[in-house]
């Protein structure tokens, strides 16, 4: 919720920074859920989340740096 407030209320690039931390938190939460429910197959979702967070951050940084005033 606090990071969502940063995304909504602050500048766009601040929202990207908050979104990056959200991705990291999502990955950690997925790891903990997979371990907590004893479903090792779900651990792959955390790997995918980490990779998507990486790619998304790079894409946002590229386009925001180029097109924002």
């Amino acid at each position: 919720m606090p990071l969502g407030a940063v995304c909504v209320l602050e500048r766009e690039i601040d929202g990207v920074v908050a979104l990056q931390l959200c991705g990291t938190l999502t990955t950690l939460i997925l790891i903990c859920l997979a371990e907590g429910f004893q479903r090792s197959a779900y651990m792959g979702l955390a790997v995918v989340s980490a990779a998507v967070t990486w790619i998304g951050g790079l894409v946002f940084a590229r386009f925001f740096g180029r097109y924002l005033p």
Binding site: P2, L3, A5, V6, R11, I13, D14, V16, V17, A18, Q20, L21, T24, L25, T27, L28, L30, I31, C32, A34, E35, S40, M43, G44, A46, V47, S49, A50, A51, T53, W54, G57, L58, F60, A61, R62, F64, G65, R66, L68, P69
Partner: protein
């Protein structure tokens, strides 16, 4: 004994991530926020990984967690660097050093 260590490590991970979230919310400049977002990809995931390896060992879930946290470790600084370049380009307009940036 192992359960206590795992609990402590998970508590440390939650505390580290809470500090990072608080930093992103409270700090005023984008660069300061980026520092905290970058820190969130290092300490918290490391604590979670060590806790999980203590509990599971190097079985399949542990190795997949190593892959996920390893990706976070490698990708975190790369994305922080790219975002810092974007912030500099937005705020200053160029990546080149300005005359006032030069050391006297």
């Amino acid at each position: 004994m192992t359960n206590v260590v795992v609990d402590v490590l998970l508590g440390l991970a939650v505390a580290a991530e809470l500090v990072c979230c608080l930093g992103v919310v409270v700090m005023r400049t984008t660069a300061d926020r980026l520092h905290y977002a970058g820190a969130g990809t290092t300490l918290g995931p490391l604590f979670v990984l060590v806790a999980l390896l203590l509990r599971e060992g190097f079985a399949a879930p542990g190795l997949q967690a190593v892959a996920a946290v390893g990706l976070l470790f490698v990708s975190g600084p790369l994305v922080v660097h790219a975002l810092a370049r974007a912030i500099r380009r937005i705020d200053v307009g160029t990546l080149e050093p300005l005359p006032e940036d030069e050391a006297p």
